[in-house]
């Protein structure tokens, strides 16, 4: 990879769209994709005719219950009679979709890209958790009858041990994000709750209680990305993609330290290098770290180098990550508050940066002035880090 090279074609985000995030939706997966895609186009003042290429993101096919799910979504996502591709890095897919859209434009091959992510978890029946029974190594892990929450709990327990963090310190993330989500129009799990509520909710796999986890959701989200020339024609306030990064660690997640996400750090370094950022903890104004579980936000804040290892719980307690804090995180309400339709949730996070950087986030707008934001998602077996840096 070339260091210090300025990517020739600048790329901007010029539009965003979202559906409601809910436990069960009437719309089919294709209809959800269409709703988000058409709203994103409308917000950019474009129609599908103006779009050169399509990037689709959706996590396991087993949720929608459709093999080749990208093909199934193609017409809802505007991908008919166009170059359409589906990229995939498990739960990291949401933030990866705009990253893939970035290279479509930065390569010069496409001028405009519609990036659409959709997830409908409700068709999996009786519970979407069943789908996660098939994510394991079929020979060595599946025979143990694992549950997805196990590995999160194992990681959370290790983080607590390594950093001396308590469950009540971590529960504060859930309290913050669910409260932030009260101002988000898509939110499914917004609530005014207390640390005690989290601690008193059902224990699923200790140390994980029900309110430590984001909900199961249906939903879709979309972005429009454009080359510099197109972007300047479309809007007075393009939001630039300043850096992208992505990393996959090894499959054997039980062969490495779970207390620190090096896969996020590697991806962040790549994105910061491209963006010319040397001190992310000072140069980033707003962050949307991935928060499917509350401890994950802290873990990822540290992986993103927005705090030193094990420092995030303390900064959280001091209000550093609140909307009016020095470095607001998940001002959207995150996955814990807005909901977690996997790939769509990641795109929702990038959309939040887009609105924040245009000062269009309304009641969610962070207090401090913003120039640069970072969004991140995580996926696979504690493996994938996807990071995007946007600037205005």
């Amino acid at each position: 990879m070339r260091p210090n090279i300025h990517v020739k074609n600048k790329v901007a985000v010029v539009g965003a769209g979202l559906t409601l995030f809910r436990r069960r939706m009437l719309e089919t997966p294709r209809e959800l994709a269409w709703e988000a895609a058409s709203m994103a186009l409308e917000s950019a003042g474009l129609t599908l005719k103006d779009i050169d290429c399509i990037v689709i993101g959706t996590a396991p096919d087993a949720f929608d219950g459709v093999h080749l799910n990208g093909e199934y979504l193609a017409d809802g996502a505007g991908g008919v009679n166009k170059p359409t591709v589906r990229v995939y890095v498990g739960g990291g897919t949401g933030v990866f979709v705009p990253i893939a859209a970035w290279w479509h434009v930065a390569s010069g091959l496409c001028r405009t890209v519609l990036a659409v992510a959709e997830e409908k978890m409700s068709p999996a029946h009786p519970h979407p958790q069943g789908v996660f029974a098939y994510i394991w190594d079929p020979v060595l892990e599946r025979p143990l009858g694992p549950n997805l929450i196990w590995i999160f709990a194992l990681e959370m327990r290790r983080y607590m041990h390594k950093c001396g963090a308590k469950k009540e310190d971590i529960a504060l993330v859930s309290v913050k994000n669910k409260a932030n989500a009260l101002d988000h129009p898509a939110a499914q799990a917004a609530a005014k709750i207390t640390v005690e509520d989290v601690l008193n909710s059902e224990v699923l796999v200790w140390p994980v209680n029900r309110l430590d986890i984001s909900p199961v959701s249906d939903g879709a989200a979309a972005l429009v990305l454009a080359s510099e020339n197109e972007a300047r024609r479309i809007t007075d306030s393009p939001v630039w993609v300043e850096g992208v990064g992505f990393t996959l660690d090894n499959t054997h997640w039980y062969n490495r330290e779970l207390g620190y996400p090096r896969y996020v750090q590697y991806a962040a370094r790549m994105a910061y290098k491209m963006a010319g950022i040397e001190r992310p903890w000072r140069e980033i104004d707003v962050a949307e770290p991935y928060d499917p579980f509350d401890y994950k936000e802290l873990h990822h804040i540290e992986g993103l180098m927005l705090a030193r290892p094990c420092e995030a719980p303390k900064l959280l307690k001091e209000g550093h990550f609140n909307r009016d804090g020095d470095l607001p995180t998940s001002p959207s309400g995150g996955l814990l508050g807005v909901g977690n339709p996997i790939a769509a949730a990641g795109v929702m996070k990038v959309a939040e940066l887009f609105w924040q950087l245009r000062y269009e986030a309304g009641a969610r707008q962070v207090k401090k002035p913003v120039h640069r934001g970072v969004a991140q998602a995580w996926g696979d077996l504690m493996q994938a880090g996807t990071v995007i840096v946007l600037g205005n």
Partner: protein
């Protein structure tokens, strides 16, 4: 769009109906080591990004991209998966290099259909869950039959014209060590074989094969450091005609996505169809080879089957088509099928095809993801001698 993109090495493993002694991961490793050796590349030092191409239900693993990084050298590196054909993966690598930020990108795709016990049911799972699956089509590949009939009725072709393609490709495959389904068969044997999907018999529908293929690409300046025999990826194209939920919109008897993908590949390459002197293209059903050639403007509408019978597309003809034997002789390698076509074209352009070597400098490689989907991919490859 200034930097050119080159293939600097290709590796493969398998092309057998069943490889029970290696896991899919071990096959990926074998292919990747061979590609690294061919390119003279250290996978852990020289590669900037890794692309794997696969689909969950072929793998039998939800979120199967978890298994991508280790066998291809991509641990703790920028690695991702394209849920699509290997040529779509290749197109992503091409774009990554064109950004100017990435110099060397590895593309991998593999298939182990022999691990799948319910392959027809997996195909069924790709059908629209509300509109089509409840009809329980007894053969989920039925859409290919509908397309074949529509194509025949539009062009006036006979069953013999399609059967001839099976003869040509299965016999050509006898010279290719990767063609497990090659056979010395006659037109009569094809026509009289057991009907599979009307109008096609068993010989006209490709079997399945286990294979892993790895391709290493580099920007022009970097490619020159590794090889003096690069093959240029001059153009790429891909297109989706319709979602699988909307079969009603499909233009039957045509491959509109192939037309669009090929046009995009020619446009990005800046070449005309008449400049192509080798084609490795889609033929998993016999009718698809002539239809693909027509949609890719390498033959006039309805004229490809006749040209095939006149020998134009034979290894010694003016435009050899699938001298490898194509998927009919090599088998369908699920999402690795596009890279199988690319591998064969690459070996031809560097003069390493062995017994089935033909004279060529500029190839069209084309693949299709169905059934029941309608996505096509096309790539224009050029050797150093293409002027």
């Amino acid at each position: 769009m200034s930097r050119r993109v080159a293939i600097i090495g290709v590796g493969w493993y398998g092309f057998k109906p069943s490889i029970p002694d290696l896991s899919f991961r071990e096959m990926m490793f074998e292919a990747s080591m061979r590609a690294a050796e061919a390119a003279g590349v250290d996978l852990r030092k020289d590669v900037d990004a890794f692309v794997s191409s696969q689909e969950d239900y072929w793998e039998g693993i939800a979120i199967s991209d978890e298994f991508a990084p280790e066998p291809i050298g991509g641990v703790l590196r920028p690695t991702f998966t394209v849920a699509g054909d290997g040529l779509q993966g290749l197109a992503q690598a091409y774009m990554l290099i064109k950004t100017g930020y990435f110099d060397v990108v590895l593309v991998e795709s593999h298939a182990k259909p022999s691990d799948i016990l319910s392959l027809d049911k997996i195909y069924e799972l790709a059908l629209d869950p509300v509109n089509i699956r409840p009809l329980s089509p007894s053969n989920p590949l039925f859409t290919a039959g509908l397309d074949a009939v529509a194509y025949m009725s539009r062009t006036g072709l006979e069953r013999e014209d399609l059967a001839f393609i099976a003869v040509k490709n299965r016999v050509q495959g006898l010279r290719n060590p990767r063609a497990s389904y090659a056979a010395k068969i006659s037109l009569e044997e094809v026509l009289e074989a057991e009907a599979y999907i009307y109008p096609m018999t068993r010989y006209e529908v490709a079997g399945f094969t286990d294979a892993a293929i790895t391709v290493i690409l580099a920007s022009e300046d970097v490619a020159r450091r590794f090889t003096d025999n690069p093959v240029w990826v001059s153009g790429v194209g891909w297109s989706t005609e319709t979602g699988t939920g909307a079969l009603a919109w499909h233009e039957w008897g045509r491959m509109k996505s192939m037309r669009m993908a090929a046009d995009m590949a020619y446009r990005t390459a800046g070449v005309k169809p008449s400049q192509i002197d080798l084609a490795e293209v889609e033929d998993r059903f016999s009718f698809m080879e002539p239809l693909t050639l027509e949609e890719a403007r390498l033959a006039p509408e309805g004229g490809a089957a006749k040209m095939a019978r006149e020998g134009v597309f034979s290894p010694d003809g003016s435009l050899p088509v699938n001298p490898s034997g194509g998927s009919l002789a090599m088998g369908v390698a699920l999402e690795a099928t596009g890279l199988a076509r690319l591998l064969e074209a690459y070996l031809q352009l560097v003069g390493a095809a062995g017994p089935h070597q033909v004279e060529a400098t500029r190839a069209l490689v084309a693949s299709w993801r169905g059934p029941p989907t309608y996505t096509s991919m096309a790539v224009v490859l050029e050797s150093e001698d293409a002027l």
